[in-house]
Point group: C2
Chain length 481, copies 2
Amino acid sequence: MNPGTSEMQFVSALDGVPAVRGVLCLFEGVCSGAADGYARMTGRPAATLLHLGPGLANALANLHNARKARSAVVNIVGEHTTGHLGYDAPLSSDTEAFAIPVSGWVRMLGSATSAGALASEAIAFARTGQVATLIIPADFSWSDGGAPGAKVAEPPPSAMDVSLEVPLDQETGILLGHNALLEPGLNAAARVAAALGARVLLDRTGARFLRGARPFAPPRLAYFPEAAEQQLAGLKHLILVECEPPVSFFGYPNRRSLVAPADCEYHPFPLPALIEFARIFPPAPPADLPPQPPIPEDGPLTADSLGQTLAALLPADAIIADEMISASEIVHRHLAAAPPHEVLPVAGGAIGQGLPVAVGAAIACPDRPVIALEADGSAMYTIQALWTMAREKLNVITIILANHRYRILDIEMRRTGAPEHGPKADAMLDLSRPDLDFVKLAEAQGVPATRAASVAEFADQFRQALAAGGPRLIEAVLSNQ
Amino acid sequence: MNPGTSEMQFVSALDGVPAVRGVLCLFEGVCSGAADGYARMTGRPAATLLHLGPGLANALANLHNARKARSAVVNIVGEHTTGHLGYDAPLSSDTEAFAIPVSGWVRMLGSATSAGALASEAIAFARTGQVATLIIPADFSWSDGGAPGAKVAEPPPSAMDVSLEVPLDQETGILLGHNALLEPGLNAAARVAAALGARVLLDRTGARFLRGARPFAPPRLAYFPEAAEQQLAGLKHLILVECEPPVSFFGYPNRRSLVAPADCEYHPFPLPALIEFARIFPPAPPADLPPQPPIPEDGPLTADSLGQTLAALLPADAIIADEMISASEIVHRHLAAAPPHEVLPVAGGAIGQGLPVAVGAAIACPDRPVIALEADGSAMYTIQALWTMAREKLNVITIILANHRYRILDIEMRRTGAPEHGPKADAMLDLSRPDLDFVKLAEAQGVPATRAASVAEFADQFRQALAAGGPRLIEAVLSNQ
């Protein structure tokens, strides 16, 4: 929460309701990202408390990510008193209009006595995997409320069609998304794939991925369309389990948006149907898993050597909040050999998500280490999250991949066919002049921090951080090698 | 700007257009606040370049402020390619819906060849004092454009009614807002007020105030409604020059929103009419202005002693970006004795504006010192602005008023009648545990910084900062005395 005047009764009530934990964030984008992280890890709704339209506006980018992650988030947004709404006060804005693009459900409270019922409606809606926004005029906070709303029941299973017509003699793929990315979906896909000889891939846009050395670890669809097209090449049929036909992240000149072959046929198939279907095939035999790889030889830190070192030291069951951007695919290639872990990617592509999602994941799972793998450029979007890690003593180890550049844009600039950039254009992609000092940014907010420029330094500092527990930050200075 | 893939051609073109200055900001809220600051100081449109819906979303709170300040801002927002828009890619969102609540004009480019004409339309619209948002699908950036749009002419003067019927024997006030707050409006109001015996007040919600020891320095309407009501007490007529009937910032229990007496009659009167009307009265005689006050005796820093010290050392013609929140009225009371200066307040009440507006003002007025007077809580919203100050070597001296608390909410909580807060509620207003270190936050971003806890320390550091020029930051630790 980051409350203001219109939410003071709500804040004041915190002491009367022991079950509610208020977590202060110094910027609303941290609140919404943390709520997303909590909802991803628990499947249960997390709430934000935000101040009027502009407070909600600051939360929107990470609510966009939450929407794409299908996270259960309830926004409680204070509003001017009903009497004040008719005037153009400084903070007057169209709060509902701000909420609509990211919310599946938006209501402005019409009376204090309906608060209970509407709160239940918001929670029920959020539990279907959407963002629900409840706007509360301040005078309904200081007038008598009604009865609490009904306890919200589990959402009923949606109706499903389990028919699947795929010729056995044609190349078939299974693409898993969203809910299908967890244990039950992976297990079912493993059985079906083995029986049908189908290729299994994980949709990029999921909220939560099970990765590392596992008996069944299908690859995630690649970021760039050329690589994704290669992964899907030759497929005549693609079974879409809880996802849409895959498209590239951006459109590019002279390139299709869809990454599956043009003649590929799509077969939407809900997760319960996949699980039911899988029962007719035998479970996969137990597999020998490779031992955790060793720490690489000392040398400069690169995306490769950082990935290898992480793979060597990552504790089992870690949660990785991934906002590495340009280094992400390289690091994850190495982490495939690490012990089983979970990865929370930037579901909606809006950067500034990694640190807030780590906050929410750490609150949701206090017994698991959370590792935020964060590019320097995107870290700066919501750097205030470090303070909440310190305030709440969260077990988050933040690793800043510092290459002093919006590196991904060097690549994207070429891909869009833009001319070679001159010095003015170059400066817009450059994060040096001056360099950012993430050790000071962390210490300034109460998070102990160190800097590592070599494999040995990083290995040492990461080991120490794991032993001490978070919050802790390591600035990993990547060399250009 | 904070561009992404969809804006790469635009960035690449910077080197071909010497008249365009690209300024990189590490978060979009800095871009929009800086554009607002530039537009306030020059009256000319500033442009932002933002990446898709989520990039625009991050800019919205300060666009809300720009809208309330009636600032000329043109947002250029990249969008997916037209072909890609039909798919639900991760970054797909309803960009127009994000833009509408803050923009008076929103257009999505329909063809590359119409870019010139639409750009001219956006600029013409912005020049009427509004936010204009032009959304550009990426494929129109890499296909052939058309001709540049027409050069934008000065907006024509709007039609005006100069009739004013106010009985001379009844108490009359003149409230100046927006454009009327600059020299011509103040001069005209001074002549009319002297002749009619009218009380002059400045509307709170203006973009730019001329303050300090001036021949004519009417008070600004107070923040809290009780004080504003007292300033307006007894008025039978209120002449509204470029503003609306004044309302309190928030609505409160058992209190009207309007702060003028219930029987007060409003008379809207445009600025040109006031200037015309003033000609029939003699100009005010020259006034003796008091000398700049001395530095107070050494002692702990408080809002009072900080205000006195600022008043003693403020250079003439300084621009103050004011986001002091709870300390603002006390400091400004002392600055009334300082040399003439300008104040840029948080026009729309959305915090996180002060540092970005200082960036824009310093770019607009490189020959004038810019002083950002910034509360610790609101500074954290857009703390990334410090990096742009360092990158662009801007003459901004940032003074953080550190009271380690959302102090204004202590007051507001009581005002809304909320019960005394317990420990959980208290923690939501508390910025200590851990304390923020603004010296490190500044140094981490390339801005030299010091900390002052006494009048002597602060005076010394402020003097040195003025001598050296910005960027520079002073953390002014306020004691609770």
